[in-house]
C-alpha cells in the first residue's frame, strides 16, 4: 500500500512574488484551514519533502536554486505551482527581471491559478497532487 498520500510533507519555496500567494499558502497551515489533518507538515528541507510548493515566478538568480532544491528531493515527488505567476509569470511575464513560470526550470504536475490563489484552491491542488504522487509511487515500484 502506498503511504505517500497519507503523509505528504511539503517544501514551500517563494520565487519572485508579491508574497500574496505565499501568505495564502501559510494560511492553509493555520487552524482555520488546518492541512495537518491530512498529515501535511511544512518541512523547510528538500530532503524531507514530497511536495514542492512554489509560489512566484523564476528569474535568472533563482533558476539554479529551484533546480537544486528539486534535485535534492527524493522520489516520488510532485511540484505544485501556485498562483498565476508560478504558472506563466502572470502580469509580470514581460518584465526584464522575470524569466517566466516554474515550468521553465522543473516539470510541474499541478497548476493552481489565481492571483492570489485562495486557500481552498490551494488545498484542492495539493489533494490532486497527492493522486499524482500515488501514481508516481506505483511507477517507481514497477521499475
Amino acid at each position: 500500500m502506498n503511504y505517500v498520500k497519507k503523509s505528504p510533507w511539503i517544501l514551500h519555496y517563494d520565487g519572485t512574488s508579491c508574497n500574496g500567494c505565499d501568505i495564502e499558502v501559510l494560511a492553509c497551515l493555520t487552524p482555520l484551514y488546518d492541512v495537518e489533518r491530512f498529515g501535511i507538515i511544512n518541512t523547510g528541507n528538500p530532503k524531507h519533502a514530497d511536495v514542492l510548493v512554489i509560489t512566484g515566478s523564476v528569474n535568472e538568480q533563482n533558476i539554479p536554486v529551484v533546480k537544486q532544491l528539486y534535485e535534492q528531493m527524493a522520489d516520488p515527488k510532485v511540484v505544485v505551482a501556485i498562483g498565476i505567476c508560478a504558472a506563466t509569470g502572470g502580469i509580470f511575464a514581460d518584465c526584464y527581471n522575470v524569466s517566466g513560470g516554474v515550468d521553465k526550470v522543473i516539470p510541474v504536475d499541478v497548476y493552481v491559478p489565481g492571483c492570489a490563489a485562495r486557500p481552498e484552491s490551494i488545498i484542492d491542488g495539493v489533494v490532486k497532487a497527492l493522486g499524482i504522487l500515488d501514481e508516481k509511487r506505483n511507477a517507481m515500484k514497477l521499475k
Binding site: K6, D34, E36, R37, F38, N42
Partner: protein, 285 residues
C-alpha cells in the same frame, strides 16, 4: 527470556509511535485545530521507507543505524529490569553516535544541530546521573527490578530529584523550550538541525529511534512511582502519561530559549533540587 526481549523490541516503538501521535493530536486541539490521526507517525515512517534512497556521503547513515542499535540495547536493559547506570551509559553512547552522524556530513545545519545537541546532553547529563544515584540511595540497588519491587515508591525519598527529572524531560522528549537541536517546528532557524541531511529510510530510522527514546524517558518517570503492588504500577503508568501531557502543554506554552539560558538554568536546577535532595537523604540513610 529471548521471547521477552523480542517482544520488548517490537512493542516499544509501537507504544512510542502512539505517544507521538497523541502528542500531535493534543497539540492540535490545544491550538484549536483538528489535527491528524493518532496513527499519523506510523504513516510518516512507512512513507519514508517508500522513498528513493539518496545520500550525502557514505558513512552518514552508519551512525544512525549504530545509534539505533544501542538505543534498542538501552530499552532492553531497562525493561528487563537491568542496571540503571549501565542503561544511562549505553544511552549516552547511542546519543553520541547520533551526534557524530550530524558532524559527519560536514553540512552547516547538521553541524550546528550537533553542537546544540551536545550542549543539551551536557545540560541534562548531571541530572540523569543524579537520578541514577538517587534511586540507588533510596532503594539500595541499581537494578530496576529491585527499584520497582521496593515497598515504598521512590518519590517519597526523592521529590527534589523527581522535579529535576521533569525539568530535563523537556530535553529528552525534544520539546520547547529546550528543543534547540532538531526541533520539528524550528525550520525557520536551522532548517532541521541534526536531521537535515537525512532522508528516506534513514529518516525513518531516526523517527523510530525517537519513539524508543520517548519510552526510555517515560520509564525513568515510571521508576519513581512503581512498587511491588499492581495498583502502584498502574498508578505509575498514569503518572507517566500525566508527565507526558504536562510536557505537551509546556511545549505549546513556551518558545525555544537560547542555549545560554538552557545550560545555566538546567545546571542550576540540577544543583539546587538534585543536590539538596541527595544531601538530605544521605543524612537519613
Amino acid at each position: 527470556m529471548i521471547l521477552k526481549i523480542i517482544l520488548i523490541i517490537i512493542i516499544t516503538p509501537l507504544v512510542g509511535g502512539l505517544l507521538a501521535g497523541m502528542d500531535r493530536v493534543i497539540s492540535a486541539r490545544l491550538q484549536g485545530r483538528h489535527g491528524p490521526s493518532v496513527f499519523q507517525p506510523f504513516y510518516d515512517v512507512l512513507k519514508l521507507t517508500q522513498k528513493e534512497s539518496i545520500q550525502v556521503n557514505t558513512m552518514h547513515r552508519f551512525y544512525v543505524y549504530a545509534s539505533l542499535a544501542f538505543i534498542i540495547l538501552t530499552v532492553v536493559v531497562m525493561l528487563t529490569g537491568g542496571d540503571i547506570l549501565l542503561a544511562i551509559f549505553v544511552l549516552t553512547l547511542g546519543s553520541i553516535l547520533f551526534v557524530l552522524g550530524g558532524y559527519s556530513s560536514n553540512s552547516p545545519y547538521n553541524t550546528i544541530g550537533s553542537e546544540r545537541e551536545l550542549l543539551q546532553m551536557m545540560a541534562y547529563e548531571p541530572m540523569v546521573l543524579l537520578t541514577g544515584a538517587g534511586l540507588y540511595y533510596a532503594d539500595k540497588s541499581f537494578f530496576i527490578k529491585d527499584i520497582i519491587s521496593a515497598k515504598v515508591p521512590a518519590i517519597i525519598y526523592l521529590p527534589g530529584v523527581f522535579l529535576g527529572l521533569i525539568y530535563i524531560l523537556t530535553f529528552k522528549l525534544r520539546k520547547s523550550p529546550f528543543d534547540l537541536s532538531m526541533s520539528h517546528h524550528g525550520h525557520q532557524e536551522i532548517v532541521k538541525g541534526m536531521t537535515t541531511e537525512y532522508s528516506g529510510k534513514d529518516l525513518a530510522i531516526i523517527e523510530v529511534t525517537h519513539w524508543y527514546e520517548t519510552v526510555i524517558a517515560l520509564t525513568l518517570v515510571f521508576l519513581f512511582f512503581a512498587t511491588s503492588s499492581l495498583e502502584s504500577r498502574i498508578f505509575a503508568v498514569i503518572a507517566c502519561l500525566l508527565a507526558y501531557l504536562f510536557e505537551i502543554i509546556v511545549d505549546n506554552g513556551f518558545a525555544r530559549v537560547k542555549w545560554q539560558l538552557a545550560l545555566k538554568s538546567t545546571w542550576l536546577v540540577t544543583g539546587v533540587l538534585g543536590s539538596i535532595n541527595l544531601i538530605v537523604l544521605s543524612f537519613f540513610r
